[in-house]
């Protein structure tokens, strides 16, 4: 087992890793920017090293300084947390060459899964369902028509060079398709200089359902109950829950097996997440794989009773996965709300400042992962997420009631937060019935005003 772990991250996740290490008897090194001198991860770690000024690219992304910090403190492993360098192949490589264990997958795996096109091909070969699409670009309209008939409408025409919804056209029938291909081609040429377009089946109002998986070096891989992360705003997850109201035990097993198949395809040896889109018919499609511990990992920890961060550290140290798929249970219904320092009344404008008053919710079934405290000043350089509020109940109704109760107790003054926004979602009748999809925030919460 490792003797000393350096945590190449900040905020609540750095604290989460320090807590796991302390309980495991592993010494910790916090690295921090000058903007984080007074942060809790610096206070709670056994040692700390300042690695640069406030901006991330000069501190939390400064590989030479982080590696040097590991060297001068004698750390034998680095935990990258999420974000920053967690999926940076170069960083994983440098760690390896310096004989420091990178707590995460190998650079080859990160590379394979980081490239969306490569990942898609790997999954297709492994027999994991992917969104049906043209293998390459389409030049002839006839080919598009043939493919669309095979995929069944609606389909989406996308520019190969596009991204983030740019150069995209959703079409419902053959007539529309012919126009869309022509328009998309000329638009793509104007915007990206390339008129290449491709075709994909369009999944209307999908859910985002993901599976936490764990693997070891012996090839054992298991999955935990799914997380439903459909409640998003601009592709940013806001609320996660487990189990998903849309997944029954049969579908869970089917999707879970697909997730394990996906992980096996790349010989996955640590914790990771396979993201799927799930449609109304119970058909699901591989979206991407996250080769790191995720923000929403506490949801899986509460629902399964497994400490994922400790598991991740043990697996990185080469220990065998001592969990049986058959013994994985669902311990209750879990909901997580991400509390951001944003003003929901002003289009989620980031709100930095000093926390004046602060009261943390507690009581049965409530967990808060945060690194803020009264008097803490939120630096302007980083992510706006300041806390994760996670609750577990015997059933979904109890979990919602508990979340409402905990949100009511949560006091963060001095800045604006998304707490009132979450309360609004909890009160929404569609949410309470479990009828959510990735358009939920846009369709239900914003349109209500």
């Amino acid at each position: 087992m490792f003797k000393k772990i350096l945590i190449a991250n900040r905020g609540e996740i750095a604290l989460r890793i320090i807590r796991a290490c302390r309980e495991m008897g592993i010494k910790t090194v916090a690295v921090h920017s000058q903007a984080d001198n007074d942060s809790l991860h610096v206070k709670f770690a056994d040692e700390s090293v300042c690695i640069g000024p406030g901006p991330s690219d000069e501190s939390y992304l400064n590989i030479p300084n982080i590696i040097s910090a590991a060297e001068i403190t004698g750390a034998d492993a680095i935990h990258p947390g999420y974000g920053f360098l967690a999926e940076n192949t170069y960083f994983a490589e440098v760690c390896e060459s310096c004989n420091i264990t990178f707590i995460g997958p190998s650079k080859e795996v990160i590379l394979k899964m980081g490239d969306k096109c490569k990942a898609r091909n790997t999954m297709e070969k492994a027999g994991v369902p992917i969104i049906p699409g043209s293998r390459g670009t389409i030049s002839k309209i006839d080919d598009a028509v043939k493919l669309a008939r095979k995929f069944k409408y609606p389909v989406v025409v996308k520019a190969s060079a596009g991204g983030g919804g740019k150069g995209m056209r959703i079409v419902q029938n053959e007539e529309g398709l012919k126009n869309a291909v022509t328009i998309c081609q000329s638009e793509a040429k104007a915007a990206f200089g390339k008129e290449e377009v491709y075709l994909e089946k369009y999944i209307p109002e999908p859910r985002h359902v993901e599976f936490q998986i764990l693997g070891d070096r012996k090839g054992n891989i298991i999955y935990l109950p799914e997380r439903d992360c459909s409640i998003q705003r601009r592709h940013q997850k806001l609320i996660e829950e487990s189990p998903s109201p849309a997944v029954n035990s049969k579908l869970r097993r089917k999707m879970g097996h697909a997730a394990v198949k996906a992980a096996k395809a790349v010989n996955y040896t640590t914790v990771g997440t396979i993201e799927f889109l799930l449609d109304d018919n119970g058909d699901f499609y591989f979206m991407e794989m996250n080769t790191r511990i995720q923000v929403e990992h506490p949801v899986s920890e509460l629902v399964s009773g497994i400490d994922l961060v400790k598991m991740q550290i043990r697996l990185a140290a080469g220990e065998k996965l001592n969990l049986d798929q058959d013994k994985i249970k669902i311990c209750g219904n879990v909901i997580e709300c991400r509390i951001n320092a944003e003003d929901p009344d002003r289009d989620f404008l980031p709100s930095s400042g000093t926390i004046s008053n602060y009261i943390v919710p507690g009581g049965p079934g409530v967990r808060v992962d945060t690194s803020i405290y009264p008097g803490y000043s939120i630096p302007p350089f980083y992510d706006s997420m300041i806390a994760k509020l996670i609750v577990i109940g015997d059933n979904r109704q109890e979990a919602i009631a508990r979340m409402e109760r905990a949100l009511g107790e949560f006091v963060i003054e001095g800045i604006r937060t998304t707490i009132p926004f979450h309360a609004k979602v909890m009160a929404d009748e569609y949410f309470r019935r479990g009828e959510v999809n990735t358009n939920f925030i846009q369709e239900r919460i914003f349109k209500q005003g």
């Binding site: 000058q34 001198n37 300042c50 690695i51 000024p53 501190s59 030479p64 300084n65 001068i72």
Partner: protein, 190 residues
């Protein structure tokens, strides 16, 4: 308060400096922690225990009311602010002293190699750009040059010890020449 008129130095800057020195001595001798002086539109504020020269200047510009309300929270300091909060050192250094900070994380060495003498010693007068130490990071030895000149008052890191980003390595007296000049006439007044 004795006016230090004995100096014949026509250099205005030196005069000002001496005046400031007088204030510093006044604060030192008297049991006060703060002094605000105003004359012909020039405001100077002194505060003991807040050893940040530039911070003081800024506060003085803000006006007395704001200076008094300043509670010196644990605030961020950038390289440019020239903090004089020196870790593990009591704050008995004159306000003008500055430090050379590490811009990287690594192990500090005072010489180019073990069998060579230290690059600089206490009391050496260094120029900006002069090699002053070596920092080893990721198995690479980097020669570090001074970003400012002056007389080395103290070397704040031990040979072979780690340094972090922004850590003070050398305590520097940037006005050592002026000090030498001012010392001679001042002796006469006492």
């Amino acid at each position: 308060m004795k006016k230090n008129k004995s100096t014949n130095n026509s250099n205005k800057r030196t005069k000002e400096l001496l005046q400031i020195k007088e204030f510093v001595n006044l604060i030192k001798d008297a049991d006060i922690t703060e002094l605000l002086w105003e004359k012909n539109g020039t405001k100077i504020s002194f505060k003991r225990g807040v050893p940040d020269l530039d911070e003081e200047k800024k506060l003085a510009q803000k006006g007395p009311s704001e200076v008094l309300s300043e509670t010196s929270p644990p605030h961020l300091k950038t390289e440019e602010e020239g903090s004089q909060r020196i870790e593990g050192e009591s704050l008995r250094f004159p306000e003008r002293y500055t430090t050379i900070k590490s811009r990287m994380v690594g192990t500090f060495y005072d010489s180019l190699s073990e069998d060579q003498p230290p690059l600089v010693k206490v009391k050496d007068v260094i120029k900006p750009g002069q090699k002053i130490c070596v920092i080893e990071a990721m198995k690479i030895m980097r020669e570090i040059s001074a970003d400012k000149g002056g007389k080395i008052v103290k070397i704040l890191v031990e040979n072979g010890h780690p340094v972090e980003y922004g850590q003070d390595m050398f305590l520097i007296d940037p006005y050592h020449e002026q000090e030498e000049a001012s010392r001679t006439p001042r002796k006469k007044t006492h």
